[in-house]
């Protein structure tokens, strides 16, 4: 298992992402989602759930990783951090769906990096529908900054909000989406 190589690279990407490098951050999420898909598929398979649920959990985890990325300590390893979030979301999923975790062995962090599964399935989430459920202000901020790719300044000018209000709205909106995704994935 070449955990070391993966870890060094992913950690590098994460730190650059935290410093605001969008391209590195995208690469990180893409590579990570391959590993996490394997992780969730393997676990859900054992309790008789399919790839759609795995994709739901993967997306819930990615958005959690994003909204909680400030909890990553730059002096620590990346893999255990990401794995701990994935495992937390998996156990939370079991709790929500009232499944028991007792017969599921707890795996080592290394397993996360074994092989990447890039076969995407559509999750059961509908982004447009989810966006309708958050507040209009947050929805607009996310649409401008995150979907249309406008800069914060442009979004502020267009919506008549201050730049910091746009940033706060994006942040809160993503957190609200994370909650909604969590609810949907457990239903």
């Amino acid at each position: 298992m070449n955990v070391g190589a993966n870890e060094t690279e992913l950690r590098e990407l994460m730190i650059r992402g935290l410093d605001g490098d969008a391209a590195s951050y995208r690469t990180l999420l893409e590579r990570l989602s391959g590993h996490l898909r394997t992780f969730f598929k393997a676990r859900l398979n054992r309790i008789g759930r399919g790839p759609v649920e795995a994709e739901d959990l993967l997306q819930e985890t990615l958005i959690a990783i994003h909204t909680r990325r400030h909890t990553f300590d730059r002096s620590q390893l990346f893999t255990p951090w990401a794995y701990a979030i994935a495992r937390y979301k998996f156990l939370d999923y079991l709790r929500r769906t009232k499944l028991s975790a007792t017969d599921i062995p707890i795996d080592q962090a290394e397993e996360l990096m074994v092989r990447a599964d890039t076969a995407q399935t559509e999750s059961s989430m509908d982004l447009e529908k989810l966006l309708q459920e958050i507040s209009p202000k947050e929805r607009q901020a996310i649409r401008y900054v995150k979907l249309d790719g406008l800069s914060v300044r442009e979004a502020a000018a267009r919506s008549g909000m201050s730049e910091s209000a746009v940033k706060v709205s994006v942040h809160r909106g993503l957190k609200a989406l994370a909650r909604l995704i969590g609810k949907e994935a457990g239903s």
Binding site: E55, D73, L127
Partner: protein, 213 residues
């Protein structure tokens, strides 16, 4: 929704993240919680009246040594627990130390103290006040700590809740120490020790509900 679509959304216009934000939040909560507990003490039972009896600062120092060492050890542990992937196993065992030391000191004082004073040593004069005050003073620090921890991402909610309760209890006991008129080592061991541990148990029960994310 395809996962690529979500990744697009998340990685468009990413804001840089400052490091050190979490630790600041936690220190802030400890500070505010401590001040709040002290204010509640002042407005309810008030400071110990110094004129009435001969005050031995040694006992106040001993009480504070026990409570503040718990706040420091528990606080360091919380800083780890609020980040995923950091178990803080070493720090977890350290938290037991202040309890062992005060219990040991209490037993020594009981063995070598005057047998007549046993009841007085264990129960003091105001154990009922102590019983009510420490958990009461711990409420606001606990609220402050939960607020801070929710800004992190604790993955072991029971453990994190327990330590938060313990630290809140220790802050409550710190505030109570400035009122507490009972000066004996076994008293500190029994009442301070038990009540702070009790706050930890309450925290462990509340943790999974309050800290979920």
């Amino acid at each position: 929704m395809k996962t690529d679509q979500l990744i697009d959304l998340l990685s468009t216009n990413v804001e840089p993240v400052k490091s050190g934000y979490l630790k600041k939040t936690l220190v802030y909560a400890l500070f505010i919680g401590g001040i709040a507990a002290f204010c509640v003490m002042l407005t309810t039972v008030g400071l110990r009246s110094q004129a009435s009896d001969k005050l031995d600062p040694g006992y106040l120092i001993l009480k504070l040594l026990f409570t503040i060492s718990l706040v420091a050890l528990g606080g360091t542990l919380l800083a780890k627990l609020m980040r995923p992937g950091q178990s803080g196993r070493k720090q977890s065992t350290l938290v037991v130390l202040p309890f062992l030391m005060i219990a040991g000191a209490g037993i020594i004082a009981l063995v070598f103290g005057e047998p007549m004073a046993l009841g007085r040593m264990l129960f003091g004069m105001h154990w009922v006040t102590c019983l009510l005050c420490i958990p009461l003073f711990a409420v606001l620090p606990f609220v402050a700590l939960v607020w801070a921890l929710r800004r992190g991402a604790p993955t072991n909610l029971t453990q994190t809740g327990a330590i938060a309760g313990l630290v809140a209890g220790a802050l409550g006991a710190t505030a109570y120490a400035f009122h507490c008129p009972d000066d004996s080592v076994p008293y500190i061991a029994v009442w301070y020790g038990t009540l702070v541990a009790f706050c930890g148990v309450i925290g462990a029960i509340l943790g999974p509900r309050l800290l979920r994310w």
